[in-house]
């Protein structure tokens, strides 16, 4: 089943009198449970593609079906609703609220979803537990290490059980070892059946994904499956042959 179906989308920015074609003609399908890396040098259009995939922005031309719904013409509030319920963001700079503790940061998407305080706290605790931070719930971001902050961000992305996890250079601000730990966590999340889209320019980070899409000059240069799909079984997880 396709979670993401993009047909001939283009994004054109008007900079002064000049038109900048950030994306020219991109078509793409992503299935449920895939682990996809989007790669490309800076200025290739990968950030623009990520913003459109994440419903933060809409394409100038073309069609974007997300979980079977056409989102290319949606207004701000409808997009906010999709982002809230169906997309979990993980950013390079963590993007946590500095004055709120870990638990409240993870709760935030559930507040906007209108879930009661009690249920919110339960779900947020579970998500923090999941990323191994059950002893850091009441720490504020400045009391946490970089790796821990990114784990809080991942917990926040997971807490609404979204259709996709969208990670933009999630290891960019971390040292190699911590970066590897975070990638291991993504693997784990993937193996539990989540769909992950990873935007990176590091080859060794992209290698964690099963499929790598390379972007250059606003177009897909190469789209290849580098690994087999991991199919989770009903009891426990194992690799499919």
């Amino acid at each position: 089943m396709n979670i993401i179906n993009i047909e001939h989308i283009a994004k054109i920015y008007q900079v002064g009198s000049e038109e900048v074609h950030a994306l020219r003609d991109v078509s793409l399908n992503i299935e449920k449970g895939e682990y996809v890396a989007i790669m490309g040098p800076s200025g290739s259009g990968k950030s623009t593609l990520m913003n459109i995939l994440g419903c933060l922005d809409t394409p100038t031309k073309g069609l974007y079906n997300f979980t079977g719904v056409n989102v290319s013409q949606m207004n701000d509030n409808e997009l906010a609703n999709i982002r809230n319920k169906e997309i979990g963001f993980v950013f390079q700079t963590f993007n946590l609220l500095p004055r709120s503790d870990a638990l409240h940061n993870v709760e935030l998407p559930l507040i906007y979803a209108g879930i009661s305080s009690h249920e919110r706290k339960d779900k947020a605790r579970l998500a923090l537990d999941h990323v191994g931070l059950n002893d850091r719930m009441h720490h504020k971001p400045n009391e946490l290490s970089g790796g821990q902050r990114q784990r809080v961000a991942i917990a926040r992305a997971l807490v609404t059980q979204p259709a996709i996890i969208l990670a933009d250079e999630p290891t960019g601000n971390l040292d190699t070892k911590t970066g590897e730990d975070i990638m291991a966590l993504f693997n784990e999340i993937y193996e539990q059946g989540n769909t992950i889209i990873l935007v990176t320019h590091e080859e060794y980070i992209a290698e964690h994904a099963e499929r790598i899409i390379r972007i250059r000059d606003g177009m897909i240069e190469k789209d290849e499956h580098v690994k087999d799909r991991y199919i989770p079984k009903k009891n426990g997880f194992s690799k499919a042959d």
Binding site: L56, D57, R83, N84, K85, N95, L97, S116
Partner: protein, 412 residues
């Protein structure tokens, strides 16, 4: 619905955190609102105090009273020289009127003289001595601290008796015991037969009964000035407020006969009413109100501009936060509500502090002018401060709500 509630609660939480994070800035911003609200509350309280004082002052006149006089008291339709040229009313006019009038409850003549009153080594200058008769008391709402009003016998006989107003008695007899003492006016002895209780009609100046002395009318003509010197005023009290108009009509027709006016001659007297005084007072109070509210409104406006300014700064500073919130699903409405809540809370703090200051200040002012902060002023202060917050916070909040999430996330 529940979403809205959670968003509001979240908005409150964020606001309190933001205010706490910028203590000095918040305090300075709140200061502007504190001054504005203090001014508004004090002004509205003062206006009410003045209003009450006027109402109280006027009510001592009695609302069912008519005053037949040579002069027109409040309306200035007739030029003053025409009024001056009218023939004085005298005691004969009063007697004829009294004989013919059927409708009034009570009628009494009055004429005044400005004198100094003495008791031993104490004296009070520039006192209005009201000369009248025993029926005067029935045309007023005056009450007594001690003694009584002079009676018919004393009045007709022109006995040298006096009834003292509250302030006059207080000044001459600081230790009380004014009754049956002899006070001196222009060398003549007057026996005190009564002392009025306090009327508090200070707005009426020297015509405040507290500052007057009452004596039989003959004494005025005998000792202070001759009858032709000043026109007599006829105080008329109607039976009730429904009867005021009829009593007035009757008074006009009787007075025209008494004064011997032909059908084509205009009235050479005026029928004055408390209503005229009320209109004058209401105009004065209205001007004070508008001027006062304009000035205090201005100070509140300055405070509101301060809030708006600081909220714009706050939105700019928290652009990234707004981006994060939008990315994880905050709608425009949510962001709008969050910043309006913050600005409303800042103003509410200011309003409460301002209210407390106003209450303290009004206690001090109360020593000079009767004021006290009433519950409606409290409600007014709270409502105005929240409204100020909402209005001044709207533009900054709207600018935050319509931020593009991609741009906002990129902001450093």
């Amino acid at each position: 619905m529940s979403t809205l509630l959670y968003e509001l609660k979240e908005g409150l939480l964020i606001s309190l955190r933001a205010i706490r994070a910028n203590k000095v800035r918040s305090a300075l911003t709140i200061f502007g609102i504190v001054i504005g609200i203090t001014a508004v509350v004090l002004m509205s309280t003062a206006i009410k105090g003045i209003d009450n004082a006027f109402a109280k002052g006027v009510s001592s006149l009695g609302s069912d009273n008519l005053y037949i006089d040579k002069w027109e008291w409040f309306n200035n339709d007739t030029p003053w020289w025409e009024l001056r040229n009218r023939k004085n009313l005298d005691l004969e006019d009063f007697k004829k009127y009294k004989e013919l009038a059927k409708l009034p409850l009570a009628v009494a003549p009055t004429v005044w003289s400005n004198q100094t009153i003495k008791y031993k080594d104490r004296n009070v200058e520039s006192i209005i001595i009201q000369g009248t008769n025993e029926n005067y008391i029935n045309t007023t709402n005056l009450s007594f601290n001690e003694g009584r009003f002079f009676n018919e016998l004393e009045s007709n006989g022109g006995r040298q008796v006096a009834v003292l107003g509250f302030e006059v008695a207080n000044n001459l007899f600081p230790n009380g015991n004014a009754l049956d003492q002899d006070v001196k006016i222009k060398g003549q002895k007057f026996r005190v037969v009564g002392v009025l209780s306090e009327q508090g009609s200070w707005v009426m100046g020297n015509f405040n009964p507290d500052k007057q002395v009452f004596t039989p009318i003959q004494n005025i003509f005998k000792y202070f000035h001759s009858e032709w010197f000043r026109s007599v005023t006829i105080n008329v009290r109607a039976r009730n407020s429904q009867m005021v108009e009829a009593t007035k009509e009757e008074a006009i027709s009787i007075m025209r006969r008494v004064r011997g006016l032909k059908y084509n001659e205009p009235d050479d007297f005026s029928i004055n009413q408390q209503e005229g005084l009320l209109n004058t007072i209401n105009q004065t109070v209205g001007v004070i109100q508008i001027a006062g509210l304009f000035i205090t409104g201005l100070s509140l406006f300055v405070g509101a501009v301060g809030i708006m300014n600081i909220m714009f700064v706050s939105v700019k500073e928290r652009t990234k936060e707004i981006g994060i919130r939008k990315a994880i699903g905050a709608k425009r409405r949510t962001i709008l509500g969050q910043f309006i809540t913050e600005s409303a809370i800042i103003c509410l703090f200011g309003g409460i502090v301002g209210l407390i200051m106003a209450i303290i200040l009004s206690m001090i002012v109360n020593q000079f002018l009767p004021t006290s902060v009433q519950i409606d002023s409290v409600v007014l202060a709270i409502v105005i401060s929240i409204a100020t917050g909402v209005i001044s916070g709207f533009a900054p909040a709207y600018s935050a709500a319509k931020l593009d999430p991609v741009e906002a996330l990129r902001y450093e």
